[in-house]
């Protein structure tokens, strides 16, 4: 059965979006659509052009016998900015204030549409970085970590506060939480991360950075290296942050419990991109 170009373009788009950063041989598509490789190449050129124009991402062609095509997500700033601004106004709502100046973000983190878009934006900043695993800590960071990892085609490794029998042997460390200055424990299944991995740390929220520092100590036990740190929201006015190299989408600039006001601004995500 032969496929028309329009059908090939639709199915190819669906397949490529589903397999970011996978190398797909041209012969795979040629067989899938019983089409000549030359037609497939033409199709891919059209897909690439449209993906780039619409701020979806790009295709990279790898030449040679072991070659093929790879889709990379690349959300343009024109696409990302309105989304981040919307996120800011969502977060600025005074109803979110909890006792102690904490913010209720569960509804935002529970919205798969928001989380996936945020994940795609964060992943766009790391498509050219070699990353072997995305690491996060249970519980709130998990959805965002998956959203990022699915675009980078890497596994997710989840650090826990306590060990579980279903995790097998674990490695654990103690760390000092940055804001509360308490000693806490983090645990990671030994099997879950290969030695020497390049790790992207993803979390929902960063205050002083103690949790991130804990994850760094833990990954060092696996001889890993930090390939990047990204958070959805960073907290306001931290006098001494433990971590200085990170990307954030949103920044709390002022949380006033007494006045019940929350000031929110864009995080450093866009700034860093412009500087690059």
């Amino acid at each position: 059965m032969k496929f028309r170009r329009s059908e090939r373009l639709i199915d190819m788009t669906s397949y490529l979006l589903d397999h970011p950063r996978h190398l797909v041989p041209l012969t795979f598509f040629a067989e899938r659509y019983s089409s000549a490789k030359s037609s497939i190449s033409e199709d891919l050129a059209i897909v690439k052009e449209t993906f780039e124009q619409r701020g979806i991402g790009t295709l990279q062609t790898v030449a040679g016998a072991a070659g093929g095509v790879k889709f990379f997500v690349n959300v343009s700033d024109e696409e990302a900015r309105p989304f981040v601004n919307e996120l800011c106004s969502l977060i600025a709502h005074p109803d979110r204030l909890l006792p102690g100046g904490y913010l209720y973000l569960t509804d935002i983190l529970g919205n798969p549409t928001i989380v996936q878009k945020a994940g795609r934006i964060i992943a766009s900043a790391y498509v050219n970085t070699k990353i072997d695993v995305v690491m996060t800590v249970a519980t709130k960071g998990i959805p965002l970590a998956y959203a990022v990892a699915s675009q980078l085609n890497t596994p997710v490794v989840i650090v826990r506060r306590d060990s579980k029998v279903t995790e097998g042997p674990t490695v654990s460390i103690n760390y000092v939480s940055g804001s509360a200055k308490r000693i806490q424990t983090m645990v990671l299944s030994k099997r879950s991360m290969p030695e020497g991995s390049r790790v992207l740390i993803v979390d929902d929220f960063m205050k002083a950075g103690g949790t991130v520092m804990g994850m760094i100590s833990l990954l060092e036990e696996f001889n890993g290296t930090v390939a990047g740190i990204a958070v959805l929201v960073e907290a306001e006015k931290i006098e001494e942050r433990l971590v200085d190299e990170y990307k954030s989408l949103v920044k709390l600039t002022d949380v006033n419990v007494k006045e019940k006001t929350i000031q929110v601004a864009e995080g450093n995500y866009f700034k860093r991109r412009t500087e690059e």
Copy 2:
């Protein structure tokens, strides 16, 4: 700027796959591509046909002024079966056996490609069911719950073992775990689920079903009703299962700790679909 049909088809495919179960007005596409509604309708007919032929899903057109088009995921059994079989052989590997007959599944649950595909397959069974939220319990079920919810366009609600300050006021219940017969606690943020929601419960693993029963008790505190129960893996030979209406992708038929063998079969997912 005018768009060629090929560009429209590619961008439309990407947009619809990103917005499952959202009603997209035809005028949205007409404006996006500066095209006549009649061309958009023709485009959508091509997309629909291809989605159905390739086992991706379907489009439903809602007529009238408030009308538009909705994408529904619908992984065909021809697509789902080889995936589930592959999952079975992955799970059957004797290296997974942990002390006490537990299975190490962290690597499978940590693979976004697997989790998303499983989520899409599970969601396919519920596209015609009215579902307001997907509920799961921390930690392991979270990624699968998001994968399902993103296809059903619903929020995810995460039940926890303990309450956190960032969750605000919570409702908690006690329940008896099915296999260990211990009394345990479950907690859900009051704000996180509207009263009277129709709830799809998603988890990674079900043994006797105590955890699922706990979630049912908890959602009843919110006057919710169970719209469905789906798990990735169900355990072998449970003499008295507490839950009888559920779907599973994979079933452990025999775990022999002494012989170090794991027997795995397809879950009841396909059986139920055929009976429908």
